[in-house]
Each structure stands twice: as structure tokens, then as C-alpha cells.
């Protein structure tokens, strides 16, 4: 069974990523169960999706230390979700920070570099995704969810491969948005191929 946490800031497209992963896993014959953050938090708050893939899954939520994989759209949210990560779990983190209004108001600057430094020290199986390059390659921030899907699927972190991810994409994404999303998937898969997972942690 794979327990997966997807986390980010409301509006970044975490819900669609969890649906795409669920669809691809379902197509492969797995049972799926999961839970979304839908509501007020989608207005720029912290959002977390739980995805459980396997057989005979009971609860839609993952307990602390129960996630084999965390996909984080944002460094600060990655640190916030860290208590979910299992001891030998893997993490994919998008390195571009989303500023928080609370920081901009002077409650302490948000130091994203410190978050990444901590993650590197703490998470053995860490993949840091270059946010600036991804946004440039995908023509904006709309498709970063699919780029991260490409990274995780091609990187062998999910129970399906890039081609199976593409099938889910074709089933779930409207035709007019398919091209940009296929490009994002390819870009993510290429990132996974070029950068082996960092292993400078414990």
C-alpha cells in the first residue's frame, strides 16, 4: 500500500493532482481512498490531500508518520507536512516559495531557503524540483501539479509509470488544456531522469 500526502497552498492545483494519481491507480486495478481540503482553506491557506493506494483500505486519512511519499508544492508547506512522513519515506518538493501575508506584514520574513536546508538534512529520499525552470518551461504556474506528477511517476515513486499517468491525464483533462499539461508531464519526467534523487540526508 502507498500512503501519499499532497500539500501546498490553496489555488496551486493540489486537488487535481490527487485526482489524477487516484485515476491512474484505479486504472491499474488498485483500490483508492483519500480525502481533500475543500472550503475556506482553498483561498490561499494550507491545503492537504491524503491519497491511499492499495487494497482493503479503511480510513480516508493517513496517520502521522504514515506517508511513504509527500509531494509538496511549496517548501514551507513541505516542512508543515513532515510529521506525516514515514521514517524511510520519500519527498518531492517544489522549491519556489509562495509568500504568506502574515510574513509580509512583518511577523518574521519567510525564509524558504531555511526550509529546504532543513528538508535536505531531515529527508533521505528528497527530490527538489526547480520551480523557476518548471514555470518557465510550462508557460506559467497552472500546470505545476502535472509537472510534479511527471517527476513522481517517472521517478518510480508511484505505483504507475509516466505512460499510465498520461492515460489518466487524457481521461480527466479537458481537450483544450491537454497540450500544456502533456508538456508539463514530459518536463517533469525529464527532470526526474536528469536529476537522481538527492541522497545527502541521513
Amino acid at each position: 500500500m502507498l500512503n501519499l500526502i499532497i500539500t501546498g497552498v490553496g489555488g496551486q492545483g493540489t486537488v487535481l493532482l490527487s485526482r489524477l494519481i487516484g485515476q491512474a491507480a484505479l486504472d491499474k486495478g488498485f483500490d483508492i481512498r483519500g480525502s481533500e481540503t475543500i472550503g475556506m482553506a482553498q483561498r490561499g491557506g494550507s491545503v492537504v490531500s491524503h491519497v491511499r493506494i492499495g487494497a482493503d483500505i479503511l480510513s480516508p486519512l493517513i496517520p502521522p508518520r504514515g506517508a511513504g511519499l509527500i509531494i509538496a508544492f511549496e517548501p514551507g508547506e513541505a516542512v508543515r507536512a513532515l510529521p506525516f512522513l514515514a521514517t524511510r519515506g520519500a519527498m518531492v518538493v517544489f522549491d519556489r516559495p509562495v509568500n504568506a501575508v502574515t510574513s509580509a506584514l512583518g511577523g518574521g520574513a519567510y525564509d524558504a531557503a531555511a526550509m529546504l536546508t532543513y528538508l535536505r538534512a531531515r529527508v533521505g529520499r528528497l527530490t527538489v524540483v526547480d520551480g523557476a525552470r518548471t514555470i518557465a518551461a510550462c508557460g506559467g504556474a497552472k500546470a505545476i501539479n502535472v509537472a510534479l506528477l511527471g517527476v513522481a511517476a517517472a521517478g518510480g515513486l508511484l505505483p504507475f509509470d509516466r505512460a499510465e499517468a498520461e492515460r489518466a491525464l487524457r481521461a480527466r483533462i479537458p481537450a483544450r488544456l491537454l497540450d500544456i499539461n502533456l508538456r508539463a508531464l514530459d518536463f517533469g519526467a525529464a527532470l526526474a531522469a536528469e536529476a537522481p534523487r538527492e541522497r545527502d540526508g541521513p
Binding site: S35, M40, G44, G45, L61, T102, A104
Partner: protein, 608 residues
Amino acid sequence: MERRLLMGNEAIALGAVRAGVTCVTGYPGTPSTEILETVARQKDGRIYVEWSVNEKSALEVAAGAACAGARAMVTMKQVGLNVASDPLMSLNYVGVRGALVVVVADDPGPISSQTEQDSRHFGLFAKLAVFDPSTPEEAYLMAADAFACSEAQGRPVLLRPTTRVCHSYASVTLLDELPRRAPEGFHKDGGRWVIFPRLSYQNHLKIESELRALSDAFSAYPHNALTGRGRLGIAAGGVSYPYVREALADIQVDCKLLKVSTVPFPEALGLSFLEGLDEVLVAEELDPVIEDALLRLCGRRGLRAVVRGKGTGDMPNAGENTVAGVRLAVRRFLGLPAPEGGEAAKADGEAGEAPSPPARPPVLCAGCPHRGAFFAVKEAVGRRRAVYSGDIGCYTLGNAPPLDMVDTCLCMGAGLTMAQGLGRVEPDTLHFAFIGDSTFFHTGLPGLVNAVYNGADVILCILDNGTTAMTGHQPHPGIGRTASGAAAPRVDIHALVSSLGVTALARVDAFDLPAAKRAVAAALGTRGVRVILFEGPCIAVDRGGAPCAVDGDACTGCGRCLRQLGCPALARAADGRAAWIDPVLCTGCRLCAALCPVSAIGGGGRPC
């Protein structure tokens, strides 16, 4: 048979379609909204779907359809049932001819709600059967059961999912459609549909005996179940049931497990459960409904089992249950040690102290028109004493610093009426009320009529962003489109307010700061009922234009834009001095450019 990845709300919708629903109404509210949206998306020509103006109207429309023999469904969140409670309480006495399923979604936590009320208690209060699913698969099946029960009883029935059923998803096996028949039509039936005291007394007697029979029937209902053996027993309902099963999965201790998915409580099944038990633990969210039913049963039958749960402090009596919390409670109840958790602390110690991620509460989006409206009012009022009464919607987020423009928020439509009461006590204070377009139609309108009729001294700011934003952009009467996407007459808010005799009425572009401030200033110069209609499209619907950018050389780093607007696109640049605008988030509304004292912000602007 097709297996499909469905969210709980989608499962309920497809379950209702399978059961032959022909009329679906509702008002959006988290976590219930996607149920009606999913039915509307089926484009099933056999089903009438509407977003009603509020939950009371929605329930009454559905009740009418059900009295004419249709299988009808109405959807809402738990606080919506408060609005719809008047028709619901009476409707149970009158009954229905077809079926009426009232889907009311509860929100333990609460995650996106004002209260943690438990609609199972509403079922007990209104003397209605309640179906309480624990998973999306079960919700899919229970939708049909609820219709069958309602039709058999001739009374409305509640289907009560909670957030972790509504917004969780699972692979659901879709079944064939059930037999359906055309609604019989309305039979006058010599006064059956007219509620009168004498009729209500007779019907009350009938309802009580029906509920006793239902309790017996529910003891054999497949979604109420008893397993296991031993002298210890755990009873659970809703999403707590899978939490308990997960906690029991790797435990080798004898234990009975009772699953309860209905109101009325299945007493015969409950008695089999209690037989021979020394102690019981009850895991459920919100109110101790199952716990109280078991206690009552013990008292009535003189049973000696100790019932542990919310009443004994063994389970939390507020907030949602968690997998870890239920696991801990179950292990403690069974006399087992707490689960291991030490490894994490050790690893953290090696890697040093975790840095604190920034607090990230929900905020008004970059480019939100409400920010412009709030800021214009704040600037125009200046240092005068004013109370800002808010309402339910995205604009409740105007409470956060630095805007700090929401002093009260109670329930849908309460802002304008509370402002009137505040004014009766503090006549020399300025009393503002903010309300969104959808909320104005929902329950704001009677408050405005009340203000005009009683000569209140208030300034009503209607924040018209052309959608029901917080719940995910549903249409409403001011938009000209129905839930199915068809064209509809558009109720013009300006004309409506004007027709009530409000003469101090202004209409401004929420993004035009100077004009908006002038409109507020004009309102400050008069007394009585004043209405300002702030118009500007929701940025999630109308994506805006090119982003703004800060000229780093011109910016003095005064921080005015950062301190006053609370826009998520604004931050300090890497040098810590100049302001910086995140081009990914900025939609070019130019509100920050309008207040920059040195005109250092360029770009942006809305496409014409």
C-alpha cells in the same frame, strides 16, 4: 459493472440518480455543494435541478415536488438546515406522497462552518429517520435506501454525511438504475396537505409508532452491523467506524464492534451488542447520539455495562476525530500500550530544530474586488468610530489584518440586521454592513426591507462579484444563468434596492479606488439607509490581466502597500527593502499602484 473514482458528494448524487430522483434543489454550502453540481452535470433530461435562493426555498420547492409524487432531493450544509427548519418540522407532520431526501452535510472540526451542530439531533428533534454513511461507497448505496425509506414511510428522510465522507473519495462500483415510475401528480386528498392542530396531534401519534417500527427494521439494516465477541465492545458511526476498524486491524484482543448508521437507533441490535458486556467505548463525531442511545437502553433494561465516550471524557466532545486519536482511545480501552512514536523525535533531534513555516490562514485572493471595497471604506471613514458588520462568504476574510474590516459575523444575512440593532444602542457610531451578492438574495433582502421600514441608520455595502465565490462559483438570481447552465432572467440588485425606496444608492467599480472613496464619503454625509453597490468580478472567474511590477529604483521601501492591503502577491524583494510583486499571483488589479505614494508600481490593468 463500472468502478469509478468518486468523491462522497459525487457518490450521493449518482446514488440519487440511480434511485430515480426527478427534482433536486439546494443552496451551496461546504461540504455539501458538489452533490447538486454533480446531478446538474449529468445533463439527465429526466431531472429538474435548481440552485434555490436559500435553503428554506429549496426545501419547500422539493417538498412541493414530493407532495406531487416525485422523488425529490434537497441539499445543504448543516447551518442551512437551520434556515430550512421551519418547513422541515411541519412537513414531517404532513408527510409526502413520493419521496423527499434532505441531504444535510455536517462539518466536524469545523473546517468551513460556523457551528459543530449534529444533524442527527435535528433528526431526533424533527422525528425523522437519518442515514449516516461512513464512506463514499456506503453513501452511494444509502442514497437509494433513503429514497426507499422516505417513500415507504411517506415522510421526509435525512441523509447526513460529514466532511470526511463528502470530501473523501474512493473507487465506487456503480450499479444499475433502480425501477422508476412517473410521479402520480398532486391529489388534493381532502385537506391532507393543510397543517392544522388536530391533524398534527393525530400525525404525531402515528409518527411515534412509525419510529418504533423503524428502529426494529433498522436492526436488520445491512449498514447497521454487529461483529466480534467478548466482554468489551466498541460502538461507532460515520467516519469514526473505519478509524476504529483500522485501529483494530492489528490487535488480537476479543472485542465486539457495533456499527450504527441510522436514527432511530436500532435497539434490538443494540441489545444484542450490550448483552454480556462489561464496558463499551463509543466513537462518533459531534454529539454523543449513539452513546446516549446505549445509555438509555442500559437504563431501560437494567444492564450493567459502563458506557465510555464523550460523557466520561474518554473521547473528545468537540472537533473532528482523527485516525491517531481514535487509535489511542481504542488501545487504551482495550488495555494496550500507546502506539510507538519515538523514532520521529529521534530523527528530528539529529537534523536540528525544525524551522517554523509561516502561518497561512485563508486570505482574500490577489485581485479580489472585496479588497478594493474594504480598503475604500476604511480610507474614507478614517478615524471616525465605525462598526463593520460582516456576513458569510469570501468577504468574511476581510476580518484579517491589515484590513481588519469585519467586527461581527453571525450567520447568513445577519450583518445588516445586527448593524441596525447596534445602531439603536450607539446612534452616534457609523454602522456599516457588508454582504455579498448571493448572500444578499439568500437572507439579506428581508433585512434591507426591515431597515427601510423601521428607519434604520446604516450603510449597506453590497459586494457584487457576480458569483457565489466561497463555495466554488455557483450561479444565483443576479447572474442570468441557472444551475443547469440555461439562460435565466437576471434580478438586478440596483433596481431591486431602488424599488424599496432607497434613494441614497450608489454603484461603483470596486477596483476604482478614488471613485469608491468618493461614494463612501458621500454616504457618510447623510443619514438613514444608504446602499453602496461595489461591483467587480471574482478573480477566480475572470482571471484579470497582466501582472503589476515594482520599479525597484523608484520604490522607497516604505511598505505602505504591504502594510495596508494584505495582498498575497505582495512581499519584500530579496534585498529586504523594496516591495516585490509575485507575477504568478498578481492579476493586475492596480489597487497597490493606486496607493503607492511614489508611483513605483506599473503594469497591470484589466483588459477592456
